[in-house]
């Protein structure tokens, strides 16, 4: 089991503030070790990752170990963002897990085809979200080795 994933930077791209809050509370409840960051659409996500615009200061945008990506967002949706991340040599090594209200088979297939590391339909309850945060923590913290990341 890996020892070095002691604290993860998790970046969530989600346009619904209520869903952001659910993610935040669930992750905080199951581990104090995570650093959570939020962006509200695909354009902001790519700006964060490339440290452009309001993210020009490196400390304002630590490199994430894991990205949780909503599919349906304004400006630039999750599908486009995922394709862009996976086509960028500086970003493609970051695992992206899709977390969406969508249940469409096409979205599932497309996610993996574009290089997603998981497709998850958003749980309907807080308890479901809590179980999910625990499961994600366990897998990405304890089972998997991630690329070494010195940010934060």
């Amino acid at each position: 089991m890996p020892q070095q994933n002691l604290s993860l930077n998790i970046l969530t791209a989600e346009d619904d503030p209520d869903d952001c809050l659910l993610v935040e509370e669930a992750f905080q409840e199951c581990s104090q070790e995570n650093h959570l960051f939020f962006v509200e659409d695909g354009i902001t996500l790519l700006q964060y990752l490339r440290r452009q615009g309001s993210f020009a200061e490196p400390a304002s945008a630590p490199r994430p170990d894991l990205i949780l990506l909503d599919l349906n967002m304004p400006h630039k949706d999750g599908r486009e963002s995922l394709a862009e991340i996976k086509a960028d040599p500086d970003l493609r090594s970051i695992p992206v897990v899709v977390l969406t209200a969508s249940n469409a088979e096409e979205d599932v297939f497309r996610t993996y085809e574009l290089g997603g590391a998981g497709f998850i339909t958003k749980p309907a309850s807080f308890q479901g979200m809590l179980d999910l945060a625990r499961g994600l923590n366990q897998y990405w913290f304890e089972v998997v080795e991630l690329v070494k990341n010195d940010d934060i």
């Binding site: 089991m1 090594s93 590391a117 497709f119 499961g135 304890e142 991630l146």
Partner: protein, 154 residues
């Protein structure tokens, strides 16, 4: 969390017969899935996925839902096989999890870079392996939803 409707088919590429046996036992122990198939190197892996040569009969090689890939194998290693899978439009949707003894930072970086969905270092003890396989199964079978592969593709 999703209820499993059909057994998830795993395909493991590993050249070490002892490791294959251990993985098989760890799968049984962790009750993840009994549907695990094995190939011994990258050449065999690609033949299996493309249903060529010894895998030409459709029932011999059910399309896997997830590939477990060792990195160091003869003939064609895991890095080459991974790159080939991820550049093949008919195969690239299948998630590939690297499962290897290597802990080298370069292998971790490289694997994610060429499209691995996860990278797992093989634990040295059997208990550790069972735990890792259980964690793997929990994530890929219970937490995430995998694409449904139509019968035609199987």
């Amino acid at each position: 969390m999703r209820k499993t409707v059909k057994p998830v088919v795993f395909l493991m590429a590993d050249d070490d017969p002892d490791d294959r046996l251990l993985i098989k036992e760890a799968f049984q122990e962790s009750l993840i899935s009994n549907s695990i198939y094995f190939v011994e190197d990258g050449v065999e892996l690609m033949n299996y996925l493309r249903k060529q040569d010894e895998f030409a009969h459709p029932t011999d090689a059910p399309t896997p839902d997830l590939i477990l890939l060792d990195l160091n194998m003869p003939r064609k290693d895991g890095r080459e096989a991974l790159a080939e899978i991820k550049s093949d439009p008919r195969l690239r949707y299948i998630p590939v999890v690297v499962l290897t003894t290597s802990k080298a930072e370069e292998d971790i970086m490289r694997s994610y870079d060429i499209g691995a969905a996860s990278y797992i270092t093989k634990p040295v003890t059997f208990d550790g392996l069972v735990e890792a396989i259980r964690g793997l199964g929990q994530y890929w079978v219970q937490i995430v939803r995998l694409p449904i592969i139509e019968k035609a593709k199987r």
